[in-house]
Symmetry: C2
């Protein structure tokens, strides 16, 4: 099989509220799942504070290290929303008011008190940027080069992702199957490693848990190749059963 291009992305979560612990991030997991549907692997996440230099440094490293960079947070109308300025500075381009964003916001706020100076901030983009539709509120997301700038509010970020679906080049999604066992993972550690070794191109992850007073584990088999995945999954089930284990074929 010819080796195939694997498309990668990084995610930069911008926000003091995540680092203070006040807010539990709810964007990483849905963005990761969405990226996989586009055939893109999330390779790294960073969370940084609302700090111009820290955002800029991370943007610069991640946009070079991955095919795509997604950011969440810091694109609202208030003084702590500095994502656009920091990314423009990192790219060495000025910030401009995007005419279509301005028109969209003018229409959206026509019956909501008008487009104030603060609201106009949400039409500011790095020069050369395109907009990402956001049907949910007037303020758009922003695409500039390989960077996709999304809102921090999870429902709004999700709506922007929906607008992007199918528009970004990717490869084959990584497929996965989960099986579960009421077993301490240490009892089957060698079995798991042997099975993975017997199936090149597949990875097996082991995720233990404690639930209802007893321990178990889910084993997740991953591969971009459906046939290889199924062969590995079936082999793992067979080996666990041969070892006397009760397997939950859909995971626990």
């Amino acid at each position: 099989m010819a080796s195939e291009r694997i498309w990668t992305a990084a995610l930069l979560v911008i926000g003091d509220e995540i680092l203070s612990g006040r807010t539990q991030d709810r964007n990483i997991s849905p963005i990761a799942l969405w990226l996989n549907l586009q055939g893109i692997r999330l390779g790294e996440v960073r969370v940084v504070p609302d700090d111009h230099a820290r955002i800029g440094d991370a943007v610069d490293a991640l946009r070079r290290g991955y095919d795509y960079l997604f950011t969440t947070g810091g694109i609202g109308p208030t003084h702590d929303d500095i994502t656009v300025d920091a990314i423009a500075a990192a790219l060495g381009v000025p910030v401009i008011v995007h005419p279509r964003a301005r028109a969209t916001l003018e229409a959206y706020y026509a019956e909501r008190g008008g487009l104030t100076e603060a609201r106009l901030r949400m039409a500011r983009v790095p020069q050369g940027a395109d907009l990402i539709e956001n049907p949910r509120s007037g303020a758009p997301g922003i695409r500039v080069g390989n960077i996709f700038i999304l809102a921090g509010i999870p429902t709004v970020a999700a709506s922007m992702l929906e607008a992007l679906s199918g528009t970004i080049e990717g490869g084959r999604p990584l497929l996965s199957r989960t099986i579960g066992c009421w077993v301490a993972e240490s009892e089957v550690a060698l079995l798991l490693a042997d099975t993975e070794r017997a199936h090149p191109g597949c990875q097996i992850g082991s995720y233990p848990f404690f639930r209802d007073g007893r321990g178990g584990a889910n084993f997740v088999v991953r591969s971009p190749d459906e046939a290889a995945l199924e062969a590995c999954r079936a082999d793992l089930v067979a080996r666990l059963q041969a070892d006397g284990r009760d397997v939950a074929p859909e995971g626990l």
Copy 2:
């Protein structure tokens, strides 16, 4: 006021399951809150896959960039648990079996099938490391230099943090107060910026939300200084009320 030392930490979350979107991280927020109680600010989070080189690169950057580095994940008994090996390699030290960890695991597994080779993996530490107690399951966490290696399962990570409480040097915690308003944040953006400017040493974060069909925002005032914090909070409430806003003094 003499400038005071601010203690900082980074968190490295290790695990394919977070990057695939399968698992929602539940460690960042509690670790951030716990760190703040110790007087330590969480300055950055990174999430990397179960990959030796990627873990090593992140460990190397973060242990140098912050006073402390915490890691979660990858310290179990299975083949995908490579955190200890990757960190030891990053530090340039060998991996050894820690005698006390071995003894603890031997006692723990005495009536649970014995200490197998896979389970013994959980006693492996970078040379020079100390153990972090884990009353919840036999396997300890690990401290080596300024690095604290915690489990990925949130309840186990929390139990290790509990064992560490009060043992790590920090400064003054960052205090915070939250007030809320049923207002579009764009309507009070300038007011927020003016208030922050009038109170050096305080930051005001604005966190909008949509709930029950309408929009509101919480404003979080942060400062290590109790008096400065209260002055800023009271001023913000007064300015919002003077602007005709209904303020929820405990947040929304």
